[in-house]
C-alpha cells in the first residue's frame, strides 16, 4: 500500500457552499481512486489559512500547496488578473470560459502573469468558470437602455466601468449587504451568483425580475500548485490532475446549470418567488458587449500583460463571432 500524499489547497467558497461540497464530497474521492490512493486533496474553505487575496503568495512560499481561488481577487496586483478573472459581458455559453482557458490560450497567459508576479513559483493546472451567473434585478431589464440610471451593485473595477458606460450607477457594497440593499432599494440590481444560488440565498425573493442567463460577469477560478510540489509529483499524477480538473469543473458547471434551469422552470410556472424571468435578447447582448469591448480595450492599457490578455481574449471571441 503506497502512502497517500495530501495537497492542501484554499478555495474561494465557504464550507457550506454547494460548489465546495460538490468538489470535496464527489470529486476529491474520485481523484484518490484515479491515482490508486497515492494522491488526495484537502480543500480548505476561503480565508481558512490566509486572507482571500493572499493565497498566491502563500503558494509561492510553499505554505499552501496550491489554491482553487477566484482570479479576480488579484486584480489589485495587476489589472491583467481583473481582465482574465472576469471579462464582463464576453461569453454567450457556459462552456466558453473554460474553453478559452484550457484550449484558447488563457492558461498560458495566466501562467505568464503568475510568473511575473510570483517569481516562477506558481504552476497553473487550469482555470475555469464554475457557473453561468444570473443578474438579480428589482425591475425588468430588457434592453441596454433599461440600464440607464439603474443602481447596480458591482464591486469589481472592470464591471463597474462597463455598467457606468451603459449609463448605470455602480455601487460598491460587500456581498453580505446585497440582500438588505435590494430590499430597501439602495440598489435596483446586483451582480451576485448563479440562478440557483440567488434562489437559495433569497435574493430572488426581494428582486422579482432576474435576468437569466445573465449577460454580465462570469467569475473565473484557477487551480494552481507550488512549482516544487508540482515537480514532486509523478508524471502519472500530473496527467491525472490535469484531466481531473477539466472533468470536475465541467461536471460541476453542468450540474449547476441543470439545477439553475430546474429552478427557473418552477419559477416560470409561477410557483416560485419571481414575477418574471427576463430574457435579455441576443441583439441587446451584442449591443452591451460592444460597449464592454470599448471598456476592455481601455482597461487593457493599464498594464502590458492586461493588453496581452485582451488580445488573446479577442482572438478567441472572434472565432465564435462574438466580437468583430
Amino acid at each position: 500500500q503506497a502512502q497517500t500524499k495530501t495537497l492542501k489547497l484554499q478555495a474561494s467558497q465557504n464550507a457550506g457552499d454547494f460548489t465546495y461540497k460538490y468538489l470535496t464530497e464527489k470529486w476529491v474521492p474520485i481523484l484518490k481512486t484515479m491515482t490508486g490512493g497515492t494522491l488526495t486533496l484537502e480543500i480548505l474553505p476561503t480565508k481558512a489559512v490566509v486572507p482571500h487575496k493572499e493565497t498566491l503568495k502563500a503558494v509561492q512560499t510553499g505554505i499552501l500547496d496550491g489554491d482553487l481561488n477566484a482570479i479576480s481577487y488579484f486584480a489589485g496586483i495587476d489589472p491583467a488578473y481583473g481582465m482574465i478573472g472576469d471579462l464582463i459581458a464576453a461569453f454567450s455559453h457556459a462552456d466558453q470560459p473554460q474553453m478559452f482557458c484550457m484550449n484558447g490560450g488563457g492558461k498560458e497567459i495566466l501562467q505568464k502573469i503568475h510568473d511575473k508576479h510570483f517569481g516562477g513559483k506558481v504552476h497553473v493546472i487550469g482555470c475555469s468558470n464554475y457557473t453561468f451567473e444570473a443578474l438579480v434585478a428589482k425591475k425588468p431589464i430588457r434592453s441596454v437602455d433599461d440600464l440607464k440610471g439603474l443602481k447596480i451593485r458591482s464591486p469589481e473595477g472592470l464591471a463597474a466601468e462597463v455598467f457606468r458606460r451603459a449609463g448605470a450607477v455602480p455601487v460598491a457594497i460587500p456581498f453580505s449587504e446585497v440582500y438588505t440593499s435590494l430590499e430597501k432599494g439602495i440598489v435596483d440590481a446586483a451582480d451576485a451568483s448563479a440562478y440557483i444560488n440567488n434562489h437559495e440565498t433569497g435574493l430572488n425573493k426581494v428582486a422579482h425580475y432576474p435576468v437569466f442567463p445573465g449577460f454580465h460577469s462570469m467569475a473565473m477560478l484557477q487551480f494552481v500548485l507550488n512549482v516544487d510540489v508540482w515537480k514532486g509529483l509523478t508524471d502519472a499524477q500530473r496527467a491525472i490532475l490535469e484531466t481531473w480538473y477539466i472533468a470536475a469543473y465541467a461536471d460541476l458547471r453542468r450540474h449547476a446549470d441543470i439545477q439553475d434551469r430546474k429552478q427557473a422552470e418552477i419559477d416560470r410556472a409561477g410557483k416560485g418567488d419571481v414575477k418574471e424571468i427576463v430574457d435579455f435578447p441576443d441583439s441587446e447582448r451584442d449591443k452591451f458587449r460592444a460597449l464592454a469591448v470599448a471598456a476592455w480595450a481601455d482597461y487593457a492599457k493599464k498594464s502590458p500583460l492586461a493588453q496581452e490578455t485582451f488580445d488573446a481574449q479577442m482572438k478567441f471571441l472572434r472565432t465564435y463571432g462574438l466580437v468583430k
Binding site: A48, V49, S72, Y81, K151, A160, A172
Partner: protein
C-alpha cells in the same frame, strides 16, 4: 490588582544622549497616537456623509468604504505605540502578584524581551510584504481602485516597528546595569541596521550592508530549521495541540500582554512548521483582519458610548428612572437595573458602564443602607449586560469569526438581555422581601420620601439620547443602514446630544478620542494575535482534528452543546474574551451548524442562537474569579474599604442567575430567535 500590565518594578531614569533619544521616542509615540486618534472622527463623518449621499441625494460614493477602512487601519496600527508607552495592553497579572519582587523583575524582563522578539519578527515579515506592495503599487482592484493595500501594508510594518521600538525603551529603563543596557542597545541597533539593509536589498539589490548583516544573523539559522530537524510534521496533531495550549497558559501566567502571547505562539508554530518563510502566515492574517469592514463598527460604537458617557448622561438617566424606586423595598436596585439596561443599549463594551453605575448608583444604594454585597453584585452583573444587549463588540467579533449576519445577532441578544435583567430584579426583590434589613426604603432612612428634581434641559437630554439609541438600533433592524453605518450615524447623534447638554467642548472631544484610541488599540492588537494563530492552526490540520473530536463523540447533540458551554465557562475564569472567541468559535461554530438537522433547527438560526449562548457565557466570564474584568472595573471606583475579594463574593449569586438564564435560552431557543424570525 489590575487587568493592565502596570510594571511592578520601578523604571530607571536614563540621562545623556541615549536618554534624550528614549524621551524623543516616547514623545513620538504619544504624538502619533493622539494624531491618528482624530481619524475616528473623520470615519464617523465620512460614514454619516455616505448615508446622506445615498438616501438624500441618491448618489452613493465609490470612495467612502475604502477611505474609512484605510483610516481605521492606520489608527489601529499606529496606536500600538501609544498603548505600549502607557502600558495599557491587556494582560493577566493576577498570578504575578503572588511572586517575589525579584522574580517579578525577571518576569517583566522576559515579557518585554519576548514581546520585542515577536514584534521584530512581525516587522520584518511585514516589511517584505510592504516593499512588494510599494514596488507593484498594489491597489484594491475595486471600482475606486485606491492604493489601500499598499498604504495599509506599509503602515502595518510601521506600527509593528513602533511597538517594537517602544518595547526596547521599556527594556532599557527596566535594566540597571550599564553592560546589560549596552548589550540590549547593540541588539536593537543590529536589528535596525538589518531592517535598513532589507529595504536597500529590495530597492538596489544585494549590497555590502546586507551581506554583513546576514553573516551576523546567520548564527540564528538553526532556530529557523529546528522544526525540520525534529521532523515536526511527524508529531501527531493532538500532541501539538496540547503543547500549544500549555504554551499559551504558561505565557499568560507571566503577565505578558495577551496579544503578544498569541502572536509569539503563532510565530513559533509558523517557524517550526515552515521555517522563516512561515512568518508570512502571521503577517498576512494580521493584514487580512485590517480589511474586515464590520470591525470598523468597533471604534465607532466605542466613540459613541464615550461621548454619551461624558455628557453626564448616567446621572440624568438615574434620576429620570427614580420613578421605578418610589417607596418600594429594593426600589433603587430596580432603578439601577433599569438604568443599566438603557446604558447597555448605548454601549457595546463592558467597563465604562460599570464605572458609571459604580459612580452614580452605588453611592445612592450605600447611602440608603443597602446591603453592600447585594449592591456590588448587582452593579457588576447589570453593568455586564452592555455586551449582551445590542450593540455589542463581542457580537461583532463573534460574527466575524463565525460568519454570522450581525443584524440578526444583535436582534437575538435583546430578549435574553432583558431576561437576565428580569432575573436580577426578581432575585433582588425576593431577597429584600425575605431580609428587609438588606434594603431599607427611603422613608425609613430619611423619615420621608425624597425625590430628585430634574430640570427640563436634563429631561430633554435624556430623551434625545434615547432617540439616538432608538435611531441607531432601529436603522439596523429596519435594514436601512449596515451596522457600521449605524454606528457612524450614532457618533454624530451622540455629539448632538452632548451639544444639547453643553458638554461638547474641544477638551471633551479630545478626551473621548484618546479613550477610544486606547481601548480599540488594545483590542485590535489582541485580535491580530488571535487571528494569526487560527490560520496556522488550520493549515497544520488542527481545526479538522478538533472538529473530528467533537463529531466523533457519539452522544446527544445537546450534550455536545453543554460540553462546549462548560469549556467556555472554564476558559472564562482566567482568559480574555477575544482570545476565547478566536480559539473556540472557529471550531465550535461549524460543529454546531452540522448539528442543526439532529436538533431540528435551521442551520442559519442555530449559528445565531449559539452566538447568543456564547455571549451569555461571556457574561459569566466578566464576573467569575480570578479573572473577572467586571469586578476589576468596579473595584477601580468603589470606596477604599471594599476589597476585590468582597466583590468576588458578592457576584456569586449573580453568576448562578446568569447560569439560570443561559440554561433557559438553551432549552427555549425561541427566547433568542423570536425577534430575528419575527422581523425577517
Amino acid at each position: 490588582m489590575s487587568m493592565h500590565d502596570t510594571p511592578s518594578a520601578s523604571t530607571h531614569h536614563i540621562g545623556g544622549p541615549v536618554g534624550r533619544i528614549l524621551v524623543a521616542i516616547d514623545h513620538f509615540s504619544r504624538f502619533s497616537g493622539l494624531a491618528v486618534g482624530q481619524f475616528y472622527l473623520f470615519c464617523a463623518a465620512i460614514t454619516g456623509y455616505e448615508v446622506i449621499a445615498r438616501y438624500v441625494f441618491h448618489s452613493p460614493t465609490q470612495w467612502a468604504f475604502e477611505m474609512v477602512m484605510t483610516l481605521c487601519a492606520i489608527t489601529w496600527l499606529v496606536s500600538g505605540g501609544y498603548v505600549t508607552l502607557n502600558k495599557r495592553h491587556i494582560a493577566i497579572t493576577v498570578l504575578k502578584q503572588y511572586t517575589s519582587q525579584r522574580l517579578q523583575w525577571w518576569l517583566d524582563l522576559f515579557v518585554y524581551c519576548l514581546g520585542f522578539v515577536a514584534l521584530y519578527m512581525l516587522t520584518e515579515s511585514c516589511l517584505d510584504a510592504a516593499m512588494e506592495a510599494i514596488i507593484r503599487v498594489e491597489r484594491a482592484g475595486s471600482a475606486f481602485d485606491s492604493p489601500e493595500p499598499t498604504i495599509v501594508k506599509t503602515i502595518l510594518c510601521f506600527g509593528a516597528f513602533l511597538y517594537a521600538t517602544q518595547l526596547v525603551v521599556h527594556i532599557l529603563r527596566h535594566l540597571e546595569s550599564f553592560w546589560a543596557r549596552a548589550a540590549v542597545g547593540a541588539i536593537a541597533v543590529a536589528c535596525l541596521i538589518r531592517l535598513i539593509g532589507l529595504i536597500m536589498q529590495t530597492a538596489f539589490g544585494d549590497n555590502v550592508v546586507m551581506t554583513t548583516v546576514d553573516a551576523v544573523f546567520s548564527v540564528l539559522q538553526p532556530i529557523g530549521s529546528f522544526g525540520q530537524s525534529i521532523n515536526i510534521r511527524s508529531i501527531p496533531i493532538a500532541d501539538v495541540t496540547i503543547v500549544i495550549v500549555i504554551a499559551l497558559f504558561v505565557l499568560m501566567a507571566t503577565g505578558m500582554s495577551l496579544g503578544i502571547v498569541t502572536m509569539a505562539v503563532s510565530l513559533a508554530v509558523a517557524l517550526l512548521y515552515f521555517g522563516p518563510k512561515g512568518l508570512f502566515l502571521v503577517s498576512s492574517n494580521v493584514y487580512g483582519l485590517l480589511e474586515a469592514y464590520p470591525l470598523v463598527a468597533v471604534p465607532l460604537f466605542v466613540l459613541m458610548s464615550s461621548i454619551l458617557e461624558r455628557s453626564g448622561l448616567a446621572k440624568d438617566l438615574f434620576d429620570a428612572m427614580s420613578i421605578f424606586a418610589g417607596n418600594l423595598r429594593g426600589g433603587v436596585a430596580v432603578q439601577t437595573t433599569a438604568v443599566a439596561v438603557v446604558l447597555a443599549a448605548m454601549t457595546g463594551i463592558m467597563g465604562g458602564e460599570i464605572v458609571m453605575l459604580g459612580l452614580v448608583a452605588l453611592p445612592q444604594m450605600l447611602r440608603l443602607g443597602y446591603n453592600r454585597k447585594l449592591a456590588l453584585g448587582l452593579i457588576c452583573a447589570a453593568g455586564s449586560l452592555a455586551t449582551l444587549i445590542p450593540p455589542s463588540i463581542i457580537m461583532i467579533v463573534y460574527g466575524l469569526a463565525a460568519k454570522v449576519a450581525l443584524g440578526d445577532l444583535f436582534l437575538a441578544g435583546f430578549l435574553p438581555g432583558l431576561l437576565l435583567a428580569s432575573l436580577y430584579v426578581i432575585y433582588t426583590l425576593i431577597l429584600c422581601h425575605l431580609r428587609p434589613d438588606y434594603a431599607p426604603v427611603a422613608s425609613e432612612v430619611f423619615g420621608g420620601e425624597e425625590k430628585p428634581k430634574m430640570s427640563r434641559d436634563r429631561l430633554v437630554a435624556v430623551f434625545a439620547a434615547l432617540s439616538v439609541i432608538g435611531g441607531v438600533m432601529g436603522s439596523i433592524y429596519a435594514g436601512i443602514a449596515s451596522v457600521t453605518e449605524a454606528a457612524g450615524v450614532g457618533v454624530v447623534g451622540a455629539l448632538a446630544v452632548s451639544a444639547l447638554r453643553r458638554k461638547c467642548t474641544w477638551d471633551m472631544i479630545q478626551g473621548v478620542v484618546r479613550q477610544t484610541m486606547v481601548t480599540v488599540g488594545t483590542i485590535i492588537w489582541l485580535v491580530m494575535g488571535a487571528v494569526s494563530l487560527v490560520g496556522i492552526y488550520n493549515i497544520i490540520g488542527g481545526a479538522s482534528f478538533l472538529k473530528g473530536v467533537f463529531t466523533g463523540l457519539d452522544v446527544s447533540p445537546w450534550l455536545i452543546i453543554l460540553l462546549m458551554m462548560a469549556i467556555l465557562v472554564v476558559l472564562g475564569t482566567f482568559m480574555e474574551w477575544i482570545a476565547i472567541v478566536f480559539i473556540t468559535v472557529p471550531i465550535f461554530a461549524p460543529v454546531v451548524v452540522d448539528l442543526a438537522p439532529a436538533m431540528g433547527m435551521d442551520p442559519d438560526y442555530i449559528a445565531i442562537w449559539f452566538g447568543v449562548l456564547f455571549v451569555m457565557n461571556m457574561q459569566i466570564y466578566f464576573l467569575s474569579p480570578p479573572f473577572g474584568p467586571a469586578c476589576f472595573w468596579l473595584k477601580s471606583v468603589t470606596p477604599k474599604d471594599v476589597t476585590l475579594q468582597e466583590i468576588f463574593g458578592a457576584v456569586l449569586p449573580f453568576i448562578a442567575l446568569q447560569i439560570t438564564g443561559l440554561i433557559l435560552v438553551m432549552v427555549f431557543p425561541e427566547i433568542a430567535l423570536f425577534l430575528p424570525t419575527l422581523l425577517k
